[in-house]
């Protein structure tokens, strides 16, 4: 305690959060994917115990050719920025929530950044449903389990079954409404995802 004041002068950059308990030894990931302005960061902020932070990952051209890049040859660097927050689950586990842009170049970094992710939430803006098609397609491609949440502020124009049809979403993928501004609503989205993962996981455990 009394040594603290003498350390102030040499402190690291200010940390905008409560530190994790020293006993925490396992970190988990959930990714919220959605187009620009759909409310990813809003949802992270609603449930995170820290103010959402932002960082970036870079990738050089060498790693890019593994997917279709339309004949890019020269060495280039691309940068993807993403936001995140966290939730301490218990004295041993912490959950990191990432808000990730659904744009094309982001998916090149999926394996590097999000291998081992529990599951994903696709956050849908009903005015731009097409933005979500690509994300859903890519998540299926990566074998990443997900649910879809419609961020809904106001009277919805379409019913959820209509939206499911517009997204060509199969019946076994949960589709729910939410208001990303509200903690309780965002929390229920995460719980819906984990319930879905739990059902998938127990089904696998019990299958021969």
């Amino acid at each position: 305690m009394d040594s603290r004041s003498s350390e102030v002068a040499v402190q690291a950059p200010p940390r905008s959060r409560a530190p994790l308990a020293s006993t925490v030894n396992d970190a988990l990931k959930i990714v919220i994917v959605g187009g620009f302005g759909v409310g990813k960061t809003t949802m992270v902020r609603a449930v995170s115990e820290i103010r959402p932070l932002s960082t970036e990952e870079t990738m050089t051209g060498a790693g890019i050719g593994i997917d279709d890049t339309g004949g890019v040859r020269e060495k280039t660097t691309t940068t993807v920025a993403f936001d995140f927050g966290r939730i301490s689950l218990n004295e041993r586990m912490v959950l990191y929530l990432f808000g990730a842009p659904g744009q094309e170049r982001f998916w090149f970094l999926w394996d590097r950044l999000f291998a081992g992710t529990l599951g994903a939430v696709v956050l849908v803006d009903t005015r731009r449903v097409a933005d979500s098609w690509y994300a859903i397609d890519r998540l299926e491609h990566h074998g990443m389990p997900f649910i879809v949440a419609r961020n809904n502020f106001g009277e919805p124009e379409h019913t959820l079954p209509q939206l499911r049809e517009a997204l060509s979403l199969s019946d076994d993928v949960p589709l729910i409404d939410c208001d990303a501004r509200h903690r309780a609503s965002s929390k229920s989205v995460l719980i819906a995802l984990v319930n879905h993962l739990y059902a998938l996981s127990t089904a696998r455990e019990t299958s021969p």
């Binding site: 040499v10 402190q11 690291a12 950059p13 940390r15 530190p19 994790l20 308990a21 020293s22 925490v24 030894n25 396992d26 970190a27 988990l28 990931k29 449930v47 932070l53 932002s54 960082t55 970036e56 990952e57 870079t58 050089t60 051209g61 890049t69 890019v72 280039t76 660097t77 691309t78 940068t79 995140f84 966290r86 939730i87 301490s88 689950l89 218990n90 586990m93 912490v94 959950l95 990191y96 170049r105 950044l113 999000f114 291998a115 081992g116 992710t117 529990l118 074998g143 903690r183 929390k187 995460l190 719980i191 984990v194 319930n195 993962l197 739990y198 996981s201 127990t202 696998r204 455990e205």
Partner: protein, 119 residues
């Protein structure tokens, strides 16, 4: 496809910080590997190394270090490799990335649910 260069960051700084190296062992650290200091900063130590040791007196995830230091994740991984090699930090790796199964174990998910419901 390649729309932007990393022009938000000064390349000279990135070069200096990493001593010119461009790659860490990609598998050494996950985005959410928790880093804990095993020693205090020593005089004369590179300032980024010293900052990491100060920040990690309690566990801090790699991605949080990157955000706080305002460096790309891959650069932070290189810095962490140095500190791990010299025994100055310990790394607590996420269990999910070790197992590499498509779905997490139900028991882990149960604990996540309990934690979320307490929110």
């Amino acid at each position: 496809m390649i729309r932007e260069a990393i022009d938000g960051e000064n390349p000279d700084r990135l070069y200096t910080v990493t001593g010119g190296r461009s790659r860490a062992d990609e598998n050494a650290f996950d985005l959410v590997t928790l880093i804990v200091s095993e020693s205090d900063p020593a005089p004369g130590m590179q300032s980024e190394h010293a900052a990491i040791l100060r920040m990690c007196r309690t566990p801090v995830a790699v991605v949080e270090l990157a955000a706080e230091l305002k460096l790309p994740v891959s650069v932070v991984k290189i810095l962490l490799c140095d500190l791990l090699d010299t025994g100055r930090i310990a790394a607590r790796h996420p269990s999910a990335s070790v197992v590499r199964t498509p779905l997490p174990h139900p028991e882990i998910l149960k604990q996540v649910l309990v934690g979320l419901k307490k929110l």
